[in-house]
């Protein structure tokens, strides 16, 4: 009776007859397996495979000799013989059945690796894989990485840095839910764009950190659908608008003139039945929830290119019949598509040499986080947070303490700068340090209006916050966390949940939210983890639907993009004579350039003014100069605390309207007797400075290694009388210097290098 063949031998024999290619792959795996187990005979065998080692005539510059097929077959047979002698039959059976299993999932590796596999096929492959029993084990570790990387590259980004970081946090399974909500031409191979890529990666990084960080436990991402980036090409093709992508090469004036027309053409076009069917499916999934349609272009949200605010994000109320909802959604997508051909993004690309890039626009359709309150829909609070704080109002705040712009309602008011309304500015690393201290300041710089979606009119609207609270205060979730009550000159945090609105006016302060509950730890954890893993400061958008324990992450991108300010080191080659000043404390990142005028209030002269009236007159004169000088083309420099209240000797008494046209506010702290006066950090109108992007810098001229070119300020011709002939006796105190006139076409630049806490103000000659 013949001896029973071991199980593994049966499989091998079967493969030899039915699938020799697979057998070859298994043979190779076996060879590697034995090699790893340090079996010396295998090494010898492998040497035989190296044809160059036996050919004495071989040199590196010619093709290596080919081994014949028979020899290869012999080697493979020998591998299995060695295996049978060195490894137990059970072990071999286990290994070989595992490798065969890996082969079952090979379709995924193949689909992912190939460049032009259509969306439909790859979606099917990923779904099939996810549904396989024991799917995780059906790919070898290296194949798992390979598939992961291939899918990241296929759908998110080909940028190596992006892939490198993302592959650490993603599994193949993470793609199934994304692809099951992805709409696009079935035969296409578009991506999901920058915004989708940023959020996908952030979500996975935070998910990985969840188990070690209690603050992240209730963090989620709103339900999202995607339209792939080639959807726009499909749209252009379907509507015979193929000439659109060349518009970017036209004359900028022409582009600007034509844009409103293009927008209307887009909005009156239609989408292919395939995409409409996809969107219809998405709407069924979303139900009646309001939606936000966000641009997610290929160039957007990549490191180095900021498209902040260049492409549109639109809210859709998503109410009415299915047909109405579908029409509204399509209309919004078409408008976002049109924004690719808008004058501003094209100009932006031209400036950065990105015009020749084949820009495509993917779409992210996200459900709006929030609740229905009356006829409105909005989140209890929302905002943006930055891991690096470029607007510090106290020397105790470090850059890495970050900053939050927080609002009640939709986050649009935090993202945009309103000018006449203010978000709450909070430093998550030092939440106790407030920008505004007195109840009057807090009130003045508090949010007065709230952005909402009106479900009745189906429009995005801005409504008065106080009125909304009066009408719907009882329904507004987490309201006690958001407001304080102003009564009798004081602000009171609500005690418990009982709020008596008749007692006083509700003011948005977030007083309780910031001192109690999980919000600050949540934001800190998100910013810390993301900036650590990504290696650069991040900018996130978030919202809360009213359950203060839960937070939704809406967007994540490199911070350098949000404000468009990159850190630039101070130049080292400026001639000494052209240096106006240097600074080495409390420097934030910014560049202030093309400045024509300097307005300098001489600290010693200001201090020696003999009467109150003259001191007040200085502030008035600054206000008049502010109205006369070209906007954003001058810098105000003065002693101590601009806008000083209480004691005029500490600094020039001005209000925000007296300085609102300046590009920059500089406070000069000259040593007095044995102490250096405190600077204000602009706190008297800090939030106005932030909203108007007026930069702030303190100078300490008497500190070691600091340069302050006093002679320049003293000797430069003073234009004060020419500009304000009616102002008398102020020449000594206020110097108005026109640098461009003084030195042919020269301007003043101030380069502020926040990374190294250094700043330099100098004359830039043409």
């Amino acid at each position: 009776m013949p001896q029973n063949k071991p199980e593994w031998q049966v499989i091998i024999d079967l493969l030899r007859d039915t699938n020799p290619i697979l057998l070859n792959r298994i043979g190779r795996k076996m060879m590697n397996y034995l090699y790893k187990r340090n079996i010396s005979r295998i090494e010898e065998l492998m040497k035989r495979l190296d044809s160059t080692s036996t050919d004495w005539e071989y040199s590196e510059n010619q093709p290596m000799p080919r081994l014949n097929q028979v020899l290869l077959q012999e080697i493979m047979d020998e591998v299995f013989t060695i295996a049978a002698q060195e490894v137990s039959a059970e072990e071999l059976a286990r290994m070989i059945s595992l490798w065969v299993k890996h082969e079952q999932a090979r379709f995924l590796a193949m689909a992912a690796e190939k460049r032009d596999v259509p969306l439909a096929d790859i979606t099917e492959a990923v779904t099939r894989f996810s549904l396989m029993p024991d799917a995780q084990k059906s790919l070898s570790p290296e194949e798992r990485i390979g598939v992961r990387v291939a899918l990241i590259r296929r759908f998110f980004s080909e940028d190596l840095d992006y892939i490198n970081i993302t592959k650490k946090f993603v599994t193949v399974f993470d793609f199934a839910p994304v692809l099951s909500r992805t709409i696009g031409p079935a035969a296409g191979n578009g991506k999901l764009g920058g915004k989708a890529a940023g959020l996908f990666r952030a979500e996975k990084i935070l998910l990985a950190a969840k188990k070690d960080n209690i603050a992240l436990r209730n963090l989620s991402i709103p339900k999202t659908w995607y339209v792939t980036s080639d959807g726009i090409m499909d749209f252009l093709h379907f509507n015979a608008l193929e000439e659109m992508p060349t518009i970017k090469y036209r004359d900028p004036v022409e582009i600007r003139q034509e844009y409103p027309y293009i927008e209307q053409i887009f909005k009156n076009s239609s989408m292919s039945p395939e995409i409409i069917a996809g969107l219809s499916l998405a709407l069924d999934d979303f139900g009646d929830r309001p939606l936000v349609v966000r641009s997610s272009s290929l160039l957007e949200d990549t490191l180095g290119a900021s498209f902040a605010g260049k492409y549109k994000s639109l809210f859709v109320a998503n109410q009415g019949t299915k047909r109405e909802k579908l029409e509204a959604l399509i209309d919004a997508i078409e408008e976002v598509y049109a924004s690719v051909f808008g004058p501003d993004p094209i100009e932006y690309r031209r400036e950065r040499g990105l015009l020749d890039f084949n820009e495509e626009m993917a779409i992210v359709i996200q459900e709006v986080v929030g609740r229905r309150i009356g006829k409105y829909f909005f989140p209890a609070y929302a905002g943006v947070a930055f891991s690096s704080n470029e607007f510090r109002w106290s020397p105790r705040i470090r850059r890495e303490d970050g900053i939050i712009r927080l609002v009640a309602g939709l986050g649009t008011r935090a993202v945009d700068r309103m000018g006449d309304d203010y978000p709450a500015l909070v430093c998550p690393g030092q939440p106790g340090l407030k920008v505004n201290v007195s109840p009057e300041e807090v009130m003045w710089y508090s949010q007065k209006n709230i952005d909402v979606i009106n479900l009745t009119t189906r429009r995005f609207e801005t409504v008065n916050f106080e009125k909304l609270v009066q009408e719907h205060g009882q329904e507004y979730p987490a309201l006690p966390q958001i407001i304080s009550i102003y009564q009798d000159g004081q602000l009171f945090s609500p005690v418990g949940t009982m709020i008596d609105y008749d007692k006083g006016a509700p003011v948005v302060t977030f007083s309780k939210l910031l001192t109690h509950g999980p919000f600050i730890p949540q934001i800190r954890a998100i910013l810390d983890i993301l900036s650590k893993e990504l290696g650069w400061p991040v900018d996130i958008e978030f919202a809360c639907d009213g359950d203060i324990h839960k937070l939704y992450l809406l967007q994540c991108r490199p911070q350098s993009q949000s404000g468009g300010v990159h850190n630039i080191p101070v130049p080292k080659d400026v001639p000494r004579d052209d240096i106006l000043f240097t600074a080495g404390r409390y420097v934030t990142t910014a560049q202030v350039e093309d400045i024509e005028y300097l307005v300098y209030v001489d600290p010693a002269e200001y201090d020696s003014l003999p009467t109150m009236e003259e001191l007040i007159q200085v502030g008035r004169t600054i206000g008049e100069l502010n109205n006369k000088l070209p906007r954003q083309k001058f810098i105000l420099m003065g002693p101590g605390r601009w806008g000083s209240r209480g004691d005029i000797k500490l600094g020039v008494r001005v209000g925000y309207s007296d300085i609102n046209n300046t590009a920059m506010l500089i406070e000069v702290a000259r040593k007095k007797k044995d102490y250096v006066p405190e600077v204000s950090f602009g706190t008297h109108f800090f939030q106005d400075l932030v909203e108007a992007r007026i930069r702030y810098l303190p100078l300490y001229p008497d500190e070691k290694n600091m340069v302050f070119n006093e002679k320049f300020f003293q000797n430069a011709p003073n234009l004060l009388r020419r500009i304000l002939p009616e102002v008398k006796k102020m020449d000594k105190v206020i110097k108005v210097i026109n640098v461009s006139k003084m030195m042919a076409d020269a301007t003043v630049s101030v380069i502020m290098d926040g990374d190294n806490d250094q700043a330099l103000g100098f004359i830039k000659r043409k």
Binding site: R396, D488, I616, Y675
Partner: protein
């Protein structure tokens, strides 16, 4: 150069010297009143949020308490303002004296910037301040109040610390507290109403029927809003107010010659006294430049919001009809403008008399706290009327008798009363 430069305390002393000369005060009295009686300077160690300890400098200046316990604010401020604090303490003595409330003058503070401190740290400073001076302040010694960068919350922390140390309830140790923890009703109305009480008395003395007058108000904050309200109730015709427009970053004057309807205007006014231009226009108001209030054909001008409004440039623009100026704000008139006013024979009720309604109400808060019995708003306001009327009559009588400008008369009466109290006590 330094000796010439502006110094608030030197200015207060110079002003005092001038009045002392007119009053013929003896040298000892002058020496006593020229400088504060006492000054306390002390350290306040505070445990910061990061675990370190930071030492803050605190102080209290008690200028004079011959007429009663000291009264004056506590400010959080940067380093170099001690002379300003001395000046303010001196002015508090005169201000309490002119309205004849039995209080002296004080001022204090801590060198710190609350923008750089958390609330917990600020609480530490407040409590630390009281610990260092708990036996030198009190309902019958010296009564602090809110000032620059401090508010009711700081006052409550201070009161609470004081009560812990003295083991009892002493709400009268501090004023400016919220209602329910020792605050007084009527505080919001006090300054505006006070202005109109003295205005009413001035008109009566001048033989002018208030019902036949028109008035222009600068500002539309707490002071002007309540002043307009009461003036109208008395039958006067307020024709304009001015206010700051946040969106335009400039001020406007809102004029309605037939008379302002205060309730109508308040409906279109935000919390900061900003009036909605468009709505005002459709309600029949002319919207003019922010300085136009001073040029109106009225009998009465009430500069009620900002300092330095009546200047050598704007004073000549006052209409011929103007007979009375009531200084609702602090320091709205410059010395050059005072000369114009004197020449034109316009009657002037100076700021520290006209706007003393606020400090009088603080005094009422203290009195109510000491009794632990709180009055109704009407009671507070009627007592305020009595006090203000009485004070005005005394100042104007002196101005008439001695033929001096009202501002000078007010100072003379104030300083005279303090000097007398010192004399009676046998201090000088």
């Amino acid at each position: 150069m330094a000796d010439k430069s502006f110094n608030a305390f030197e200015m207060a002393q110079k002003q005092f010297d001038g009045v002392a000369e007119k009053l013929g005060l003896d040298q000892a009295t002058r020496d006593l009143l020229r400088n504060p009686m006492r000054e306390y300077h002390f350290n306040i160690p505070v445990r910061m949020d990061d675990g370190t300890v930071k030492v803050f400098r605190g102080f209290r200046v008690q200028h004079n308490d011959a007429r009663g316990p000291g009264k004056g604010g506590i400010r959080f401020h940067p380093q170099e303002t001690i002379d300003t604090v001395r000046a303010l303490a001196t002015w508090m003595t005169w201000k309490c004296s002119v309205v004849d409330i039995p209080l002296g003058g004080g001022k204090g503070g801590v060198i710190c910037d609350p923008h750089h401190l958390s609330e917990r740290e600020q609480e530490g400073i407040c409590r630390g301040w009281v610990r260092q001076i708990a036996y030198n302040i009190g309902p019958f010694q010296d009564v602090p109040a809110p000032d620059v960068m401090t508010n009711g919350q700081h006052m409550i922390w201070m009161m609470d610390e004081y009560e812990r140390i003295h083991n009892g309830r002493y709400p009268g140790v501090i004023t400016g507290k919220p209602l329910g923890v020792g605050g007084s009703l009527g505080r919001t109305e006090a300054t505006g109403y006070g202005c109109v009480y003295v205005m009413r008395e001035a008109l009566r003395e001048m033989g002018i029927d208030i019902k036949k007058t028109k008035a222009a108000f600068q500002g539309f904050g707490n002071v002007s809003q309540y002043a307009v309200k009461l003036y109208k109730e008395y039958g006067g015709n307020p024709i304009c107010v001015s206010c700051w427009d946040q969106a335009d970053q400039k001020s406007y004057t809102f004029l309605k010659k037939t008379g302002i309807d205060i309730d109508e205007l308040l409906k279109i006014t935000d919390r900061f006294g900003g009036i909605n231009k468009e709505k005002a226009q459709s309600a029949g108001y002319e919207v003019l430049d922010g300085n136009a209030w001073i040029e109106q054909e009225v009998e009465i001008l009430v500069p009620g919001a900002l300092e330095n409004q009546v200047t050598k440039d704007t004073a000549p623009k006052m209409a011929k009809s103007v007979k009375l100026i009531v200084e609702g704000a602090n320091g709205p008139t410059t010395p050059e403008a005072d000369e114009v006013i004197k020449q034109r024979g316009i009657f002037m009720i100076p700021d520290f008399l006209a706007n003393a309604g606020g400090v009088t109400c603080s005094y009422f808060e203290q009195v109510q706290c000491n009794m632990n019995y709180f009055w109704t708003k009407d009671e507070v306001l009627s007592k305020l009327d009595t006090k203000m009327t009485d004070a005005f009559l005394k100042v104007s009588a002196l101005a008439r008798d001695k033929k001096v400008y009202m501002r000078d008369a007010a100072y003379m009466i104030a300083i005279q009363k303090v000097a007398e109290a010192c004399k009676l006590r046998g201090w000088v």
